[in-house]
């Protein structure tokens, strides 16, 4: 994690004698972290494109990531649908635009709320799991044992998990979107009865394919961030079980942070190229 290695130990300046954190030390370890991440990514790509391809392990990881997160993202999506309906309804009534409620709910869910909620939920659920499990494998020599067996851990452990995250995030987003739209309709119809067909038809009338595809596809980038950051944090663990705990926590914190930052860039990109 940026700053981990040298906090409190740097001799860069006299200031470090008075403050527990040395600013040059933190900056140095920040850039070191990115440098190591770059090297790690290079190794993973090299391992992924060269045979043997770990197809069976990839399918196993897709199942692990998809099935273990599906319920959670659908639950988060459902809560989001209800909240959006309740919050938006009162605002739209105030502006005399109540008929736009289905469209507002559906657009909000598929363009932003669904993807970002899915990214953050999966980052918490899967990022921590990957960081902890690979960290535990590292401190118990399991990764070394794999390497000695002639199996490249960057291909078998990292590439498969990263690719599985990239492939599963858009599918999980669809699941979150669906449950959000359904509970959005339920909350709306409880306040003012409306059939599901009518809700969908009214909502989708103002939505084009461009509104739907890019925001869903951008979650593949979120998947890349979750997979890459958590495998990297897991496979560089040092310091026994304490290090494993740190890897799990930092996997979630860093991947959530990078997802939010990436979202800013991707939203700007989507608005620019898919207006």
């Amino acid at each position: 994690m940026p700053g981990d290695a040298t906090i409190g130990t740097s001799t860069h300046s006299k200031a470090s004698k008075h403050f527990p954190i040395s600013v040059p030390g933190v900056i140095q370890s920040f850039f070191e972290w990115f440098g190591e991440l770059g090297q790690f990514s290079h190794r993973v790509v090299k391992a992924a494109v060269r045979p043997p391809y770990e197809i069976r392990e990839l399918i196993h990881q897709m199942d692990e990531i998809g099935s273990k997160s599906a319920f959670l993202v659908m639950l988060a999506g459902a809560a989001m649908g209800v909240v959006l309906s309740l919050e938006t309804r009162s605002s739209l009534i105030r502006f005399g635009a109540k008929s736009s409620l289905p469209a507002v709910i559906i657009i909000s869910i598929i363009t932003e709320s669904g993807p970002i909620i899915t990214g953050l939920v999966v980052s918490g659920r899967i990022g921590a799991g990957i960081g902890a499990s690979l960290g535990s494998m590292k401190v118990t020599d399991q990764i070394d044992a794999m390497e000695v067996s002639g199996v490249n851990p960057h291909g078998f452990l990292a590439a498969t998990r990263i690719l599985a995250c990239v492939l599963m995030l858009p599918l999980l987003t669809l699941a979150a979107d669906f449950s959000g739209v359904v509970t959005g309709w339920i909350a709306t119809t409880l306040a003012e009865p409306m059939s599901f067909t009518q809700f969908i038809n009214t909502g989708l009338k103002r939505i084009s394919f461009h509104d739907f595809l890019p925001p869903t596809a951008k979650t593949a980038v979120f998947g890349l961030i979750i997979g890459l950051v958590s495998t990297f944090q897991g496979m560089r663990v040092t310091g026994g079980t304490e290090g494993v705990g740190r890897a799990a926590t930092s996997s979630v914190v860093l991947s959530s942070l990078f997802i939010i930052l990436a979202d800013v860039v991707l939203v700007k990109f989507i608005l620019e190229f898919f207006p």
């Binding site: 118990t140 020599d141 399991q142 794999m146 067996s149 199996v151």
Partner: protein, 246 residues
Amino acid sequence: MSDAIVVKNLHKTFGQQTVLNGIDIHIPQGETFVLLGRSGTGKSVLLKLIVGLQKPDAGSIEVHNQEVTSLPVEELNEVRRKIGFLFQEGALYDSLSLGKNVAFPLRRQKDASEKDRLDRARDLLAQVGMEKDFDKLPSEISGGMKKRVGLARALALDPDILLFDEPTAGLDPITAQEINDLILKLHGERRATAVVVTHDLRGAQTISNRIAMLHEGNILIEGTYDELKKSRDETIAAFFRLGRSN
């Protein structure tokens, strides 16, 4: 007899700490070579350097006359196929059954089917007396059993060289003796070269052809068990006096 492993002028440091300071070792084919030494003297590091898990700062390591320190990963993997490694805690994969753990190194054998690999794993587990536990997970067995399964996995690719990292550490004396007997039996059957890192003097006496003691980055003494025992060097004498009394 040709040398299976030749280590020349090997140096390794971690930060400010010099772990290996120019050591030289020759291990002939078929010999059981035991490396003794206090904790933190770099014995396990030496095993990891031999198998290419770490890179030395200077010096060379030849395995069957092939320099391994500068090999690209594909060629290093070919060398590793000839080496079996038993890790200190077994290093069994938590998520795989014992059978699949032992079969794991066989996954690179393209001509073998899944059934062949599992059959071979069952045979190997039988050799270490663990065939009944084929479907158990590593979390369901004891430390001594983990070492047995780790040993079976190390034998999976019929290696010429076996590296044992503290095979009896953390085990009660009876289980430790069982593991030593197993190493002796398997060595007798296969005539593989073995390098054993241990603190266990009884074990060293049982299994070794030759022993070296690593101290402060250098080989302090090298010889048979009896030769070391007769040494008047204070460090060696203390190691034997305290080691045998445990």
